[in-house]
């Protein structure tokens, strides 16, 4: 949580070719490819960039989807890649506090494609787009945040808590 409000690393002219300390060459190559593709695609509402040395830890930002209680809010998070990426999924977390049925208060996310439905053809941008879709369309049958799930059909109440939670996170 101490990283919650640290500014997300931007396109800071980071040396893309500077290799990694951990993980095999092919992981680094794959992540470099993804980074390039992400920068070229420039998808609205989504950004992600490696943080610190190497390519194994990324920070990302995500715009709340329009016509949802998250509209107008920007969420930050992290993505940590295992040495076996993309055979195994990255660990993805929200740093910004978020009131949502499938995200707990520590930022852990319950999303099948990050667990047993992961496959090696998923990429950083697909993961972030799936997170955006999850914000808009939660899976109420397996909630991490039961309160949010139970409240979900009362959207005006949800909105209040969403905004309050977001403000608390921003005030930290």
């Amino acid at each position: 949580m101490d990283t919650a409000m640290r500014p997300t690393a931007r396109r800071s002219g980071k040396q893309l070719a500077s290799g990694t300390k951990s993980g095999s060459q092919s992981v680094a190559k794959r992540l470099q490819n993804e980074l390039m593709a992400l920068m070229v695609a420039n998808i609205p509402g989504i950004s992600a960039f490696p943080e610190g040395d190497g390519l194994m830890n990324w920070k990302w930002t995500l715009a709340g989807p329009s016509a949802t209680v998250y509209e107008g809010l920007t969420f930050k998070g992290s993505m940590t890649f295992p040495a076996t990426y993309p055979i195994n999924p990255p660990v993805v977390r929200f740093d910004t506090k978020l009131f949502h049925p499938n995200v707990d208060l520590e930022g852990n996310i319950c999303l099948d494609i990050l667990k047993d439905k992961w496959s090696a053809v998923y990429t950083v941008d697909k993961v972030l787009l799936s997170l955006q879709a999850l914000l808009a369309d939660p899976n109420l049958s397996s909630p991490l945040n039961v309160t949010a799930a139970e409240m979900w059909d009362r959207q005006s109440d949800v909105l209040k808590v969403v905004l309050k939670t977001y403000k608390e996170s921003s005030d930290l």
Binding site: N33, T84, E106, C110, K117, A120, K164
Partner: protein, 278 residues
Amino acid sequence: MASSDPPRDPHPPTTDERPTDQQILDYENSLRAELLADAPFVSELAGLEELEKEYEGGAEIFRKKLQELKKDYPIYRSIRKDGNCFYRAFGWRLAELLWSPSSASSFWHDTAKAVLISTRELLTSSGYEQVMIEDFYDTFLAAMKLREAPGEPTGLEVFQSEYASSTTICHLRLCTGAELKRSRDLYEGFAEMPIDEFVIKSVEPMALEADNLQISALVNAIPLVNIRIANLDTTPGSINFHEFSPMDADAKTLPVITLLFRPGHYDVLYGKNENVEK
């Protein structure tokens, strides 16, 4: 941690009492890893007697079928039980056939080389992005010893090294997915859901076992072998075989890969006169 939340928090923590999904997943993975720790991805050759031992106290029907099987297939090689066994068995047997001295200068070998090299186009034409599949493709060709790959494992090493082995399996999964999408009309009726969804849910994720539909698709994606599967089950009578042959190839001219199926698992069987890689 949640304990640092203010007491008037409108949404009480829900995660204190139970582990997170990630913890559960890690635990399951560690259990699985523990169970599998001693089992190689692809084992040494063994006589079918080894398999008979497993059934010594079991049902008579298994022992009878194994005895019958042993007459034609006296040797087998067990494959790790991790949900990837069909793809691993297929990849391994294909590699063995390619390396076999007797196939070295054959027409089949030349065809095989061309077909396997063209799997990149198979994937890209089905919508997989080239930069995302290239590593799997390169490792796969190196595994088949069709491409020089300095510093990367080749051949048997690939099948014993976790990352390279998984990567090779991943390529075979994507070939299966590409074939399902390319000839979707053919397969859709068997999938119980739209093909794209089937590929995402039942083909691409690792550790999900192949069923008849995936097997048919892989045989057509890489139309180089017939697959013969011996079913070791409790149905009365003799052991029965399922055959899978590529549609657009002269199946009679192609080598046969024989697998032993027990519910949820495939191992490799070898006929009496088959060349095997030691």
